[in-house]
Homo-oligomer: 337 residues x 2
């Protein structure tokens, strides 16, 4: 049975929402969950809410790493924190995947230096899923590495393709390179060199994608360096918030618009659901030896449930093996079947 | 009297929309316009539409540079095109400003190598105005220079501040640095070094701005390199288009939502106006010896009118002198008064 390790003390709504989401996951997904964190507090929550902890293990961790702490401290002064202990369990094979809504910086540190990168992977990528007009697009890198080589971007393309194929069930996912124009001569040296590598890679490369096209589903996998990716990711989120606010303001303006609002209720709800990141889970950390999911800091119980479901789907889809297979094929010079 | 030189053959709707917009400008702004392009065709348009060309000069240019042509050709094989001739007139002091909706690449070439940069300016910046929740924000660089030094970004901050103060009437414009976090240790070397320069510069530096905050008016001047700036600019436009489409789809879905649409007509119109880039003019090319405005390729007559009005306001505000003053102060080591 798949066992998902969950950081019970990461995120704004921890530990209550984490415990609740984990129980939902155990009851609905046919998996085991190992909750990591202060054992006493976790049991108190269960008692207070009359939760059954059947199907859940609890592994004690003494402290919690704060989002304002130096991420490096997860390796030293805070190696007893819930996130560090979770990564240690993953590394030691005590679980198949790890989910945390804690500090992104600490998560990157822990993933890279406790769980460790897959052998041959240049950079692990934080890979969020962005909603588009036609579905979802995975973005690599969303902010783990501010400087990247063309070779790292090529690996991002392979890893993102594996995810979209095995978890999102998209046949031959289209890989796009974020750029300032569509011609292959556009961009910085990074984009020009990556364009060449992707053209010859075993991925379905559809060329450069301008930022204007991102919401319209022109590709399934979008590769870029972590600086540009973070700008794109956060602007995407910001514009979503902005338009949600505009729409709300429009509908609440006066009696007439409030009547309109009541007529549009279903449509507005559908749109909100579409833009709701928690529906799809969190951002997957690709390139690590083991499945690691970064849940949103503001995750509620449902979002934790979805992040755990996403972790299970990554394990089911054999994403890590898929990436390892590719890396082996590159080493030996053989093609992946 | 201010004379604005206008490329009559640049843009998708040229020359008709350009001629119409120019006539509107002459009639409403108390300025002169010099139309550049095929003289015969311009007179044919005037005759056909019964337009008076009083207050307009026409300077003949034999050819037009296409958006698909190599931008460099404006300096050689196409130096008789309307855009090249417009820049020559600006350089020779035959007008105060130049407006074109033609190829951005050719415009950058022409601005830099025909009109030329102001002495001391490292890079000229394409500077679009983005609508925000509270007003407008000028973005430098929107895509003219994919690689920039911290010193160039400092100059962008000064030039953008001059524009927002003198044209948009904002006292002590807030300058923000686009970055992936708010702390001064965030970002690439470019951002870290620029942060230090801006902290000591004669501008109202408010620190790093994350992309998530862009729509909410946290700064008046946003500085970044042209690669990141182009990503932000185009994603801003793309998200605007996406949400306009979502809103339209929502309102046209069925009888019920169509009733809602009729109740929301005024609000939707206000929102569209807010997001309409042509209301504010075009993107100003800052750092050039003379005012240069890049109008949108899809500009209609009203958009050309607004771009010409913007050119006049730049001349009225003495933007170029303002930037020169700053450059002089840096040379001599004196403060600007």
């Amino acid at each position: 049975m798949i066992n998902v390790i969950v950081d019970a003390f990461g995120g704004d709504n921890a530990p209550d929402a984490v415990v609740e989401g984990s129980i939902m996951a155990v009851q609905n997904l046919g998996i085991k969950v190992t909750l990591v964190g202060n054992e006493k507090k976790i049991h108190e929550i269960a008692e207070k809410n009359n939760y059954s902890l059947v199907g859940l293990d609890v592994v004690h961790a003494e402290t919690v790493i704060d989002v304002h702490e130096d991420p490096k401290s997860i390796l030293k002064s805070r190696k007893d924190c819930s996130m560090a202990v979770g990564f240690q369990l993953l590394r030691d094979g005590k679980g198949d995947a790890f989910v945390s809504a804690g500090s992104t910086g600490a998560l990157l540190m822990g993933a890279t230096f406790i769980a460790k990168r897959l052998k041959g992977i240049k950079r692990a990528a934080l890979s969020p899923l962005l909603p588009t007009e036609t579905g979802y697009m995975i973005l690599l890198d969303g902010g783990a590495n501010i400087d990247c080589s063309p070779e790292a971007l090529l690996q991002f393309a392979v890893m993102g393709s594996a995810y979209m194929e095995k978890v999102m069930n998209i046949t031959s996912p289209r890989v796009g390179l974020l750029n300032i124009g569509t011609e292959d001569t556009k961009g910085r040296d990074l984009e020009k060199d990556t364009y060449k590598l992707l053209s010859e890679a075993p991925v379905n490369f559809v060329g450069n994608i301008e930022a204007r096209e991102l919401p319209f589903g022109k590709c399934d996998v979008l590769v870029t360096d972590g600086y540009s990716g973070n700008i794109a990711l956060k602007l995407y989120e910001g514009m979503g918030l902005y338009f949600a606010g505009v729409l709300k303001g429009m509908l609440k303006k006066n009696v007439k618009t409030k009547i309109a609002a009541s007529l549009l209720m279903g449509e507005v709800k559908d749109f909100k659901k579409k833009m709701d990141y928690s529906e799809v889970g969190g951002a997957v950390m690709l390139g690590i030896a083991g499945t690691v999911i970064k849940a949103h800091g503001s995750s509620d119980a449902k979002a934790f449930y979805n992040a755990i479901r996403q972790a299970k789907e990554c394990v089911d889809g054999g994403i890590t093996d898929q990436i390892s297979l590719y890396l082996d094929s590159q080493k030996g010079g053989n093609d992946v079947d």
